[in-house]
Amino acid sequence: MTIEAMTPNGERMTLNMGPHHPATHGVLRIVVESDGEVVATCTPDHGYLHRSIEKIGECIDWPLFVPYTDRVDYVCAMNANLAYCLAVEQLLATDAASAVKVPLRGECIRVLVAELNRISSHLVAVGAMAMDVGAYTPFLHAIAQRELVNDIFEKLCGQRLTYNYVTIGGVAFDLYAQASEEITRFLDQFEREMVRFNKLITTSTIFRDRCASVAPVSAAEAIAWGLVGPNLRGSGVDWDLRRDESYGLYGQLAVRVPVGQCFAGRHGKVGDCFDRYVVRLLEIQESVRLCRETLKLLPPPAVKANDPTGGYQADVSRQLKKPPKGEVHCRTEAPRGEMGYFLVSDGTKVPYRVRCRTGSFSAAGIFHKVMRGIFLADVVTVIGSFDIVVPEIDR
C-alpha cells in the first residue's frame, strides 16, 4: 500500500512520540509525520540521556571506568562490564610484558553472569514488546522471572541493576556458597515458566499476526545498515560473535545460533518483527543451556584469588599503571548485539580515548527507513522488536 493511495488530499499530521512515552523504552523522542494512519516520515531525536560517558572515560583511570559501563546499558550491565574489560585485557595483551590471564574459574563466572544477564535482558525485551502491542500479562510474567535473576546477582555482588562485577582481570567476588545450586534451581523452574510464557503470548494468533510482515529487514539491508545481534540474526544472517569470534570460555561451549526464518508462517517475511521476537526467545533457551554447561566446567574455588584455575581475579594493578601505547578494537556479543570498544592508550594510567559502539545505536539509525509506510499503531511494535535501550544510544 502506498502513501498516496491512503491520502488523496495529501494532508499530513505531525505527532510527537516521547520523550516521555511508555513505549519508547526510555527518553527517546520520535517525530512521526503521518498520512492518515500511515507513517510518512519518522525522525528520531536523541540526546535526552546523553551523559558524556566517552568523555568521562578520558578523565579517569582504566579500572574506574567499569562502573560507567554499567550505565551504558543498565538492562545488561554484566555484558557491558565484560565488553570493556575484555577490550582492556586485549590492549594489555598486545604487549607480552603486560598480558593478563584470567583464571579459569573467573572465566566460568563471567560466562555464567553474562548468560544470566542475557536471559533477564531478553525477558525485558520480549515482555516489553508484548506490552507495547497491548498484551500486559506476559510482561508481568517476564519481569517476575527477571526478579529471580536480580536476586541471584544481588547475592553475588550486592546490586540489582548496575553490578560493577566484572573487572579487568576477572570478576570482583567469587561465587557465594550454594550459588550453583540456586542457579540450577532457577533454570529448572525458568524453563517450565517459559513454556507457560510461550503458551500465553508467542503462540497467540493475534500477537503473531500483529507482528508478521511488519517492518521486514532483508539480510543485505541489515548488514549495510549496521544491525547487530538478534536484529541481524532475525534477518537471517547466521552470525554470532560468541561462536564466530569466540572470546573467553565461549570457544569451548559450542554456541548454537538461532536465525530468523519466517517464523510467522505464510503471512510473515524473513526479518519481520515476529522473527526478531522469536530469535530472542530461542536465544534465551540457548543461554539456559550455556549456563548449565558452564556450571559443569566450573572448577572448585582455590584459596588464593589469583590462582590460575580456582581463582577469580588476576592481579592487574601493575599493568594498568602503564599499559602499552597504541589502540585496540574488541567486540563482544551483548544482548542487544555487538558491543565494541575502541580504545586508544597513550601509555598512561588514563585512557586517551574510550569509544563504545552499541547495538541500539545502529538499530535506531534504521528507524527512519523501516518506519516509512507502516501503520501508526505499528510504530511501537517496531521499537519493541528492535529492543532499543535508550541509554545505550545516547551514552
Binding site: 519518522c42 540526546g47 597504541g326 580515548r353
Partner: protein, 202 residues
C-alpha cells in the same frame, strides 16, 4: 568465503591506490592511512572488490591526535573506519586525517548507510564535517551547543542558556576559575552547509 590476512588486504589496496599507505599503530595493529580525497574511491573499491567485499561498518569513530600524535604523526582529528566483511570474515581499519583548520572528510553514507548515524556522532563530538552527508546534525548535544566535546582542546562552557554548570568557587580543571581573565576561545565554526534544516532523512 576466504578470509585474507591484514597484509594481503593492505597489499591489494595499496597496489590499486598509490597514495594509500599501510601502517601499524604503536602496538602493532595494522591500518591503512587514506588521504581524504581518495576515500570515496577506496571505500567503493573495498566494498565491491570480490575478494575484499567489506559490506559492513563495525564502527566509525575518531579521536583527536593533539596530545598523542604518534599514530599517525599529526595533530589532526583522526577518523577511524573499522570495516568487516560478513562474506569473507576479515577486517580492515582505515584512517583518515582531518586537519583542525579545515576539518572535512567525504561522507560514507552512500556506501554504507550505517555511516549516517555514526558520522552524525563524529560530527557532534569531534567536529568533523562530512561533506555530502544527507542530514549532518548534532545527535547527542543540543543543536546550539558550542564546541565539540571530545576534542582535546575543548573548553567546558560555564553555562548553557544562563543555567550555570558549577556552583560558586568551583571550576573545571581545563578552564580558569570564573572571574579570572577570560581566555579567548576560537569558535569551532561549522563549515557552510553543515546544518541543514531538521526533517527529512534522520
Amino acid at each position: 568465503m576466504s578470509a585474507l590476512a591484514p597484509a594481503g588486504i593492505a597489499a591489494k589496496v595499496t597496489t590499486a591506490f598509490a597514495d594509500v599507505q599501510a601502517k601499524t599503530t604503536d602496538n602493532g595493529q595494522p591500518f591503512l592511512l587514506v588521504p581524504a580525497a581518495a576515500l570515496p574511491a577506496v571505500a567503493r573499491f573495498v566494498r565491491d572488490d570480490a575478494t575484499l567485499r567489506f559490506d559492513a561498518v563495525m564502527d566509525l569513530t575518531g579521536y583527536d591526535a593533539l596530545k598523542y600524535p604518534s599514530t599517525p604523526s599529526s595533530d589532526a582529528i583522526v577518523v577511524v573506519y573499522l570495516l568487516f566483511s560478513y562474506q569473507h570474515r576479515h577486517k580492515l581499519t582505515l584512517k583518515v586525517l582531518a586537519p583542525r583548520s579545515e576539518c572535512a572528510v567525504p561522507t560514507m553514507s552512500g556506501i554504507w548507510p550505517a555511516a549516517i548515524y555514526f558520522e552524525r556522532e563524529v560530527w557532534d563530538l569531534l567536529g568533523v564535517h562530512f561533506s555530502g552527508h544527507p542530514s549532518l546534525r548534532r545527535i547527542m548535544c543540543p543543536e546550539d551547543w558550542v564546541g565539540h566535546a571530545l576534542r582535546k582542546d575543548y573548553r567546558y562552557p560555564d553555562d548553557y542558556h544562563g543555567v550555570l554548570h558549577l556552583r560558586d568557587g568551583q571550576h573545571f580543571e581545563s578552564s580558569p576559575p570564573r572571574g579570572a581573565v577570560p581566555v579567548a576561545v576560537p569558535p569551532v565554526a561549522a563549515p557552510p552547509g553543515a546544518v541543514p534544516p531538521a526533517g527529512g532523512a534522520a
